[in-house]
C-alpha cells in the first residue's frame, strides 16, 4: 500500500467518521464501455467551472474523507470568495470599493480590509520586480487586476484546504494554483503553452503551488510597460512559479514587459522561478525551474 493510501485512510477515520469506502471505488456507469469496466481507479475529483472576474475558473478537487457533497459546499464557499473579491476590486463596476477609491470618492480607511492587504501586496510585488510590475503606473490609473486575480485564487484554495480536501487544482484562464497531489505519488504536471504553435507545449513543469504565464496572445499585445505607459512587447512568453499566485501573476507580468532586468530580479528572489521565451524563440530559465520530461 502506498503512503498516499495510508494517509487517506487515517484521515478518513478521524476527520468525519465517513469511511474510506464512501469514496466511489469506481466512477459512475460508463456507457461507452471503456476502461472503467475492469480497472480500479483512484478517487475521482469533484469538478466545477465558475464564471467570475471576466474569465472561467475551473476547479478540480479531491474531496478526501469529507465526501463529495461537503466538497461541493467547500467549492461553493470558494466561489463566494472569488465573487466577493471581484465585487470589491472590479474596475468595470463604478460602485466597487476600488473604483470609489480610485475616483477619490472614498478613503482607504473606509475600504474593506482586503483593499489595504492588496495594496501592500502590490507594493511588495513592485519592489520585488524592480518596478516592472507597477499598478500605479497604468495609463488608466491604479490597476491591480493582474495581482488580484491570483490573490483571489490563493484565497479560494485556502478555503478548499481548510475543508479537508486532499488535493485541488484551480485554473483561471491559464493561471493555476494547486495543493496536494493528483494521485498517490504523483505531482501536478502543467504544460506551458507554446507562444506560436497552438498544438504544442513549450515545456512541461511540475506544479507545487502556483504558476502564471503572461504574453501577448490571441488578442495581440496587451501588456503595458510601466516605465513608458505604452504597450510593451519584449518577450513572447513569461512564466513564473512560486508559493502563491498573487506574486506569480505580478512577476509574470513584470517578466513579460521587463525582459532581462525583470528576469534578474526574479532570479534573486527566494522561492520564485522564471522561464522566458524571447521573440526569437530562445529560452531562459532560473536554476530551480522544475522542468519535467
Amino acid at each position: 500500500m502506498s503512503n498516499g493510501a495510508v494517509g487517506q485512510v487515517i484521515h478518513a477515520t478521524y476527520a468525519s467518521g465517513v469511511p474510506a469506502v464512501a469514496w466511489p471505488a469506481r466512477p459512475r456507469q460508463d456507457p461507452v464501455g471503456g476502461w472503467a469496466a475492469g480497472v480500479s481507479t483512484p478517487e475521482q475529483p469533484v469538478v466545477h467551472v465558475e464564471a467570475v472576474m471576466g474569465t472561467m475558473v475551473s476547479f478540480r478537487v479531491h474531496p478526501g474523507a469529507q465526501g463529495r457533497d461537503r466538497c461541493r459546499e467547500a467549492i461553493e464557499e470558494a466561489c463566494e470568495v472569488l465573487h466577493t473579491v471581484d465585487a470589491t476590486f472590479s474596475l468595470w463596476r463604478p460602485d466597487s470599493p476600488l473604483s470609489k477609491l480610485r475616483r477619490g470618492d472614498a478613503a482607504l480607511a473606509e475600504m474593506p480590509p482586503e483593499v489595504a492587504e492588496v495594496l501592500d501586496l502590490c507594493r511588495h510585488a513592485r519592489d520585488c520586480s524592480r518596478g516592472w510590475f507597477d499598478p500605479w503606473s497604468m495609463p488608466g490609473g491604479f490597476d491591480p487586476t493582474g495581482l488580484v486575480k491570483g490573490w483571489s485564487l490563493d484565497r479560494a484554495l485556502e478555503v478548499l484546504k481548510r475543508s479537508g480536501s486532499t488535493a485541488a487544482l484551480l485554473n483561471a484562464g491559464g493561471d493555476l494554483v494547486a495543493f496536494g497531489s493528483p494521485a498517490p505519488g504523483a505531482r501536478w504536471r502543467i504544460g506551458v503553452r507554446h507562444p506560436w504553435m497552438a498544438d504544442a507545449l513549450a515545456c512541461v513543469v511540475r506544479l507545487d503551488a502556483a504558476i502564471a504565464t503572461s504574453g501577448p496572445y490571441e488578442r495581440g499585445p496587451h501588456l503595458i510597460d510601466p516605465r513608458t505607459g505604452r504597450p510593451a512587447q519584449t518577450v513572447a512568453s513569461a512564466t513564473v512559479t512560486g508559493a502563491n499566485l498573487a506574486m506569480c501573476d505580478a512577476l509574470a507580468t513584470a517578466l513579460a514587459v521587463g525582459g532581462a532586468d525583470a528576469f534578474d530580479a526574479i532570479a534573486g528572489l527566494d522561492g520564485y522561478e522564471a522561464y522566458v521565451i524571447d521573440a526569437s524563440g530562445d529560452e531562459q530559465a532560473t536554476d530551480a525551474m522544475a522542468f519535467l520530461d
Partner: protein
C-alpha cells in the same frame, strides 16, 4: 516572420480540466513524455547575476513538444459515442463542440456552432479552432493536468468540450 503568430497563436486553457481525468484514467504507457529535439539554437544565459550556472540545455521552442502520436488503448474493443456540449459564451462570441469518444480516448472534436461578434473574431476563431482540435487529440499523450497561458476562444472550446464529455460520462 516571427510577428504574425502572436495574433493567431492559441492554446487551450482549462483543457487541463478536460484532459486531466483522462490522463489519470488511462492505463497506457506512463513513460510517454513531451519529446524535445536536441541540438537546436538554445542559448541559455546565466540564471543569476554573477553566476556561471546555466539551466539544462533546452531546444528552441519552435521544435518542442510534438505530441501527435496516439497510443493504442489496451482495453477491450471500444464503442464510439458522441455528444454535443453546451453553447459556451466567451468574450467575442459563442461556440459549442461535439465530442466523439471511443473507450478511454477522445477520437474527434468538431465545432457545431460558432457565432462571433464581428468578422475579425470569426477570422481568429477559424484560424484557432483547427489548432485546438489537434491539441485536444494530441495532448492526451502529454499527461498534463493543466496548461499555463490562456486565450478566450480556447476557454470556451474547452468548457463546451467538457460538457460534451460529461454527457458521455467520459472519464
Amino acid at each position: 516572420m516571427k510577428r504574425f503568430p502572436f495574433v493567431i497563436g492559441s492554446t487551450i486553457a482549462g483543457l487541463a480540466g478536460v484532459l486531466s481525468f483522462h490522463s489519470r484514467a488511462t492505463t497506457g504507457p506512463l513513460s510517454h513524455s513531451v519529446p524535445v529535439k536536441a541540438g537546436t539554437s538554445a542559448r541559455p544565459v546565466p540564471a543569476k547575476p554573477g553566476s556561471t550556472e546555466t539551466t539544462a540545455p533546452r531546444s528552441s521552442v519552435a521544435h518542442s513538444a510534438p505530441t501527435s502520436t496516439v497510443p493504442v488503448t489496451t482495453q477491450g474493443p471500444p464503442t464510439a459515442a458522441s455528444a454535443t456540449g453546451v453553447n459556451e459564451q466567451y468574450g467575442y462570441g459563442v461556440l459549442s463542440v461535439r465530442a466523439t469518444v471511443s473507450g478511454s480516448r477522445i477520437t474527434d472534436v468538431q465545432v457545431v456552432n460558432l457565432q462571433t461578434v464581428d468578422s475579425y473574431s470569426q477570422q481568429l476563431a477559424d484560424q484557432v479552432i483547427p489548432y485546438l482540435r489537434r491539441q485536444v487529440l494530441s495532448m492526451q499523450t502529454a499527461r498534463i493536468d493543466g496548461v499555463s497561458g490562456a486565450t478566450y476562444t480556447s476557454e470556451a472550446y474547452a468548457y463546451s468540450l467538457q460538457s460534451a464529455l460529461d454527457k458521455l460520462h467520459f472519464r
